[in-house]
């Protein structure tokens, strides 16, 4: 049994560590506390005064501003935020909570874990790659498309929170985000590299795949050069868009087959920097992923004709356009984390369970413009499907569209944020607003909305208003109208029936 060492944080709190390295990264050696509830990572090399100062800010002021407000607990699951700084034998260490247990592989890889990764961290790279997904991961670790949507929501929300506090992560990548696709969870780690624009310059350029083009293009310049672009909130936005794209499509948005130079290093710099081009650019097709270069284990994901980014639906598609076309070389055009969060949350209302019980993705965005089918396994949608188009009143009695739809499926829930435009499902949502107020069922050859907690639900047909009391159900019919609530911000749903084949 290794020794236990007693230490004190810079602030005088007692800390204990077991004298045995549990992991080493590029910069730190990491030790467990005796009860394994927290870890201490010691920098192997001496750190300058500025780094120490920055670590103190991260564990102090910034931490407080994120966690010690109302709702602060919510963020504890989304960030592995260092809590204190220690000094020992001339070395600096940071204390941080241990990663939660669901971020360690339970089953690991296929064939009884032939790679031996059981118990190791669920680093995002395992999941954001078609080849790793298809060839290596145990199917029980893989999760489905809905879980990845949820993971993306959490990541976008966490980044939004940092940006709102004026902080940039500066090295957002699948290395620094743990994900748990079995349950749709995500946690941002490696906070010690955090950048405060204008105060602490970043000490990393980032991780390949996620570095913004303007940073790649200027990283040969000296740090003091005014033309040099350093990681910032704008470059985080690029990294966030890449992460979301990779978790939804298991391919990289800029890694196509266009070759800029015979030398791989120069080619890399050009294709991630100056010449970066979206692989799915609608008019410039020169960087498409060519079918002949795709390995079978990368299918169907790398086939952008089969699974184009537009399968992510009407809210996410324009954001990808902005991130990888208009905003790729123009940072100010990039969607913010807040915009991503909104679009992702609304997309959750568009997804349908795939009717193929063996579909690996299980859920997809329902597209009623063409013959509806699952884009992943191609199973067509059979039966009728009610789509609720949501409207709300900006002025008394005048309902205008909210650009928000809800696709119905059996046991689909209706939540307060569907009922009222002023309610948004995020970390600030009050507990009583997190409960569903109704649900949908297919019963006796018809679709119904069962009213569980909508005191003023009303079916409207022409001039007649027909109240549906709590405990009763309203039928869903093509062209029918339901008023969820007459309150301020209350919504009206116009029902549209889509017939599958």
């Amino acid at each position: 049994m290794a020794n236990i060492i007693k230490l004190q944080t810079v602030e005088g709190q007692p800390i204990e560590i077991v004298d045995e390295i549990i992991g080493s990264g590029g910069m730190k050696d990491v030790y467990f506390s005796p009860d394994k509830s927290y870890v201490v990572g010691f920098f192997r090399e001496e750190q300058d005064a500025q780094t120490k100062d920055r670590l103190l800010m991260i564990t102090g002021r910034y931490r407080q501003s994120l966690f010690e407000n109302a709702g602060g607990d919510y963020w504890k699951n989304l960030f592995c935020w260092p809590s204190a700084v220690v000094e020992f034998n001339g070395r600096i260490g940071v204390v941080a909570p241990t990663y939660q247990r669901h971020f360690f592989f339970e089953f690991g890889s296929r064939n009884d874990d032939f790679l031996g990764i059981k118990g190791r961290e669920k680093e995002g790279k395992w999941f954001a790659s078609a080849n790793n997904q298809n060839r290596f991961l145990d199917p029980r670790e893989r999760g489905d498309w809905r879980k990845y949507l949820k993971i993306c929501i959490l990541i976008a929300r966490a980044v939004k929170r940092m940006h709102a506090a004026g902080l940039a992560h500066s090295d957002l990548s699948y290395k620094n985000v743990l994900v748990d696709p079995t349950d749709g969870r995500a946690c941002i780690i490696d906070i010690d590299g955090l950048v405060v624009p204008g105060k602490y310059p970043p000490d990393v350029v980032g991780t390949p795949d996620f570095i913004a083009p303007e940073v790649v293009m200027t990283c040969h310049l000296g740090k003091e050069d005014p033309k040099r672009k350093l990681p910032s909130i704008a470059t985080d936005r690029h990294a966030l868009a890449v992460l979301i794209y990779m978790y939804l499509f298991y391919r990289h948005p800029l890694r196509g087959d266009k070759v800029h130079d015979a030398d791989p290093q120069i080619d890399e710099t050009l294709s991630m920097g100056e010449k970066a081009l979206f692989v799915e650019h609608p008019s410039d097709t020169s960087n498409r992923i060519r079918a002949k270069n795709i390995k079978p284990s990368e299918l169907p994901w790398k086939d952008t004709a089969k699974i184009p980014y537009t399968v992510s639906g009407p809210y996410l598609t324009p954001l990808f356009d902005r991130a990888f076309m208009q905003g790729l070389h123009k940072p100010s055009e990039r969607p913010t984390a807040d915009e991503w969060e909104n679009a992702l949350v609304k997309t959750v209302d568009l997804i349908q369970p795939c009717q193929n019980p063996n579909c690996s993705q299980a859920w997809y965005v329902f597209d009623n413009t063409t013959a509806p089918r699952c884009p992943f396994c191609e199973t067509p949608y059979r039966g009728s499907l009610p789509v609720l188009n949501l409207y709300s009143a900006r002025r008394e009695g005048q309902f205008t569209p909210d650009n928000h739809r809800l696709m119905v499926y059996t046991n689909q829930s209706l939540f307060p944020w569907h009922v009222n435009r002023n309610i948004f499902p995020n970390e600030r949502l009050a507990p009583e607003l997190r409960k569903r107020v109704g649900y949908f069922v297919w019963h006796n050859e018809a679709w119904w909305l069962v009213n569980e907690n909508l005191p003023e639900l009303t079916e409207i047909s022409g001039e007649t208003k027909h109240p549906i009391p709590i405990g009763m159900a309203a039928p869903l019919m093509d062209g029918g109208t339901l008023l969820f609530s007459p309150q301020e911000g209350g919504r009206l749903a116009v029902i549209q029936m889509v017939e599958g084949h």
Binding site: G26, R44, L115, G116, I117, R120, E123, K125, W126, S129, N131, N132, R135, F136, K175, V205, G206, T207, P208, I211, C219, H220, R251, H252, R255, G256, D257, V259, D261, A262, D263, P264, Q265, D267, E268, T269, M272, I289, N293, I294, E298, K302
Partner: protein
């Protein structure tokens, strides 16, 4: 090929002096290096490995193979003593020219290959060795690391090939374990950071391995 391959060549000395514990240590070290790399999602996606052994002749133990398909055979030491490192480099150059994909207008090439050489002596074919050095240098390796294992290894000669020479005091299990751990960390770093500013950066060597300046 939207995912570039990272070719990794390992040249291992199997001359007579490696018999016994040293070669056993190399086998153990190689096995653990392989398992470590297989637990790395970056390495799995790009690393292709080849091992060449050299004694009185150079042999390709296996050609460039995707990491997950590598089956490591037991490396044995034949009877006689010579160390034909020059011949090994010659074989290496032949294989690199044959197997490494160069970028062309319609195909992305491989990353620049990494080369690791371990020897416990000095080249018996010195002239050939020196001739090959010039040719190796024309091949644009991303990084070349030479390891001088044990007291008899000639660091100065290795320095002619690469500035990065590390030395192991002994050829036992513990020091080879450290060395191969470092090789796998270097390969892992290479596979996850290829493309950023300094492609050739290596993680710091473990304390038991001395970098020869």
């Amino acid at each position: 090929m939207t995912t570039r391959r990272l070719p990794v060549y390992i040249l291992l000395d199997t001359s007579g002096s490696m018999r016994g514990e040293p070669i056993h240590a190399v086998n153990v070290g190689m096995q653990s290096m392989l398992s470590a790399l297989r637990q790395d999602p970056y390495a799995l996606e790009s690393v292709h490995l080849s091992v060449i052994t050299f004694d009185i002749e150079a042999k390709e133990l296996f050609p460039l193979t995707p990491l997950e398909q590598v089956r490591l055979p037991e490396i044995a030491v034949p009877g006689s003593g010579a160390t034909f490192l020059g011949a090994a480099l010659e074989l290496l150059i032949d294989r690199v020219d044959r197997d490494v994909i160069l970028g062309s207008p319609d195909r992305k090439g491989d990353w620049r290959p990494l080369l690791f050489i371990m020897t416990d002596g000095s080249p018996s074919d010195l002239q050939c060795y020196r001739e090959m050095i010039a040719k190796v240098k024309q091949r644009h390796f991303g990084n070349i690391v030479a390891c001088a294992a044990g007291q008899k290894a000639k660091e100065a000669l290795l320095k002619e090939l690469t500035p990065t020479v590390v030395s192991l005091d002994t050829t036992d299990i513990a020091s080879f374990a450290q060395f191969f751990k470092w090789v796998s960390a270097s390969v892992a770093t290479g596979s996850s950071s290829a493309g950023v500013a300094s492609p050739t950066s290596l993680p710091p060597p473990p304390p038991e391995v001395q970098v020869v300046i």
